[in-house]
C-alpha cells in the first residue's frame, strides 16, 4: 500500500480545495492498482477527505471518517428497517456491512422496503442491498448472508463493532441479543408497528430487551393489527443509525438503560428508563 506521503503528493494537484473528488480517488485507484475500498482507506489514512463526505465534516473529523470506514456493522434483517439502515450506514461511510436476510422481495414490500422496486420482486434482498450500496458508495464492502439469523451463529457476528436488530420476530431478536452478549458487541434494537416504534441500545449484559418484551411469548406484536407504513421504518431505522454512529465514533449519549418510544400518530417521542 502506498504510504500517506506518497498519497498526499499524488493527490495534491487533484484536490478541490482540500477535498478529493471522485475523479481524484479514481486516479489513485488506477495509479496504485487499488480497489475502491483500498483507495478509500489510504486516502482517509493520509488525512484527506473524499469530497462526497464533505457534508459529514462539520460533525466528523477525517480521522473519525476513517474510523467509520474501518468499522464493521452487521444488519440483521433487510426489510423495512434493514433497507434504511443499510442505505444510511453506506452513505455515512461505514466500510464493512454484513447484511443478513433469507428472503426475496414480495409485492407488499413495496410500501416500505427501500430496496424493493417494481423490477426486483422475487429477487434476493441481500443481493439488492449489495447492488444499492455499490451504486451509492462503492467504497463500502457488503458481505451478503442469505439465511436467517439463528441462535449460536457467531460467525455472522464475529468482528462486528455494532449490530443492528432489524428483525421481525421475537425469538430471533433474543437469539441475536444473546449472540451479541456472548461476543461482547453493542446491539441497537429497533421495532415497528403502524405509527409506533421502539429504539434501544443494548450493551452486553444489559437487560433492556428482557424488560421491554418480558411477555412476548414468541408472539407477533401489534404490527399484526397496524401493519407498517413507509415512514415508521424510516424514522426508527434512522434513530438506530444515529446510535450506531455514536457507538462507532465514541461520542454522544446512547439510548442505554432506556427505550425511546415513538408515537407518530400523536407526534410524541418519549424516553423511558429501563433496567
Amino acid at each position: 500500500m502506498p504510504d500517506a506521503d506518497v498519497i498526499r503528493q499524488f493527490v495534491a494537484t487533484r484536490l478541490d480545495g482540500d477535498l478529493l473528488p471522485w475523479s481524484g480517488q479514481a486516479a489513485v485507484m488506477e495509479r496504485f492498482g487499488l480497489s475502491n475500498a483500498e483507495s478509500e482507506d489510504v486516502v482517509l489514512a493520509a488525512g484527506i477527505l473524499p469530497a462526497r463526505y464533505s457534508r459529514n465534516r462539520q460533525m466528523l473529523t477525517t480521522a473519525l471518517q476513517l474510523k467509520l470506514f474501518r468499522s464493521r456493522v452487521v444488519v440483521v434483517g433487510c426489510g423495512g428497517l434493514g433497507g434504511y439502515l443499510i442505505e444510511e450506514l453506506a452513505r455515512l461511510g461505514v466500510g464493512h456491512l454484513v447484511v443478513v436476510d433469507p428472503d426475496t422481495f414480495v409485492e407488499h414490500n413495496l410500501n416500505r422496503q427501500l430496496f424493493a422496486n417494481a423490477s426486483n420482486i422475487g429477487s434476493s434482498k441481500v443481493t439488492a442491498a449489495a447492488l444499492r450500496v455499490e451504486s451509492v458508495n462503492p467504497a463500502v464492502t457488503v458481505h451478503c448472508v442469505a439465511r436467517a439469523f439463528e441462535a449460536g451463529d457467531h460467525s455472522t457476528l464475529a468482528g462486528a463493532d455494532a449490530v443492528a436488530d432489524a428483525l421481525d420476530e421475537m425469538p430471533a431478536r433474543f437469539a441475536l441479543a444473546e449472540g451479541c452478549r456472548d461476543l461482547g458487541i453493542p446491539l441497537v434494537h429497533g421495532a415497528i408497528a403502524g405509527w409506533y416504534g421502539y429504539v434501544a441500545t443494548i450493551l452486553p449484559g444489559d437487560r433492556t430487551l428482557h424488560q421491554l418484551y418480558n411477555r412476548h411469548g414468541g408472539r407477533r406484536g401489534i404490527e399484526a393489527q397496524f401493519g407498517n407504513p413507509s415512514f415508521t421504518p424510516a424514522v426508527v431505522a434512522s434513530l438506530q443509525v444515529a446510535e450506531i454512529c455514536k457507538i462507532l465514533i465514541g461520542q454522544g449519549t446512547l439510548l442505554r438503560h432506556k427505550v425511546l418510544t415513538i408515537n407518530l400518530l400523536d407526534s410524541e417521542i418519549e424516553t423511558v428508563a429501563m433496567d
Binding site: 434483517g77 421481525d168 421491554l212 407498517n228
Partner: protein, 74 residues
C-alpha cells in the same frame, strides 16, 4: 388504594398517558389490564416500580405500573 398507571403508544388511544387509579387492596396487574380493556396478547411488558412482572403480580399502594404494547415488526 391508589396506584399510578402509565400507558404507552397504542395503549393510550382512547385512554390516557398517566392516571392515578383507585383500586381494591390485592388488585393484580391482570385486573388492571382487564379493567382498562387492554388485550393481554398485545401486552409486551408490565413494569411495576422499575421491575418487569407477571400478570399475577399483586399491586401495593403507591405502586407505579407501566404497560407497554408488544411491538415486533421490522
Amino acid at each position: 388504594m391508589q396506584i399510578t398507571v402509565r400507558l404507552f403508544l397504542a395503549f393510550r388511544t382512547g385512554r390516557f398517558h398517566t392516571k392515578a387509579l383507585e383500586c381494591a387492596a390485592g388488585t393484580t396487574v391482570q385486573q388492571v389490564v382487564r379493567d382498562l380493556r387492554l388485550p393481554e396478547t398485545d401486552l409486551g411488558t408490565a413494569i411495576v416500580n422499575g421491575r418487569e412482572v407477571e400478570l399475577g403480580e399483586v399491586l401495593a399502594p403507591g405502586d407505579t405500573l407501566l404497560l407497554f404494547p408488544l411491538v415486533g415488526g421490522g
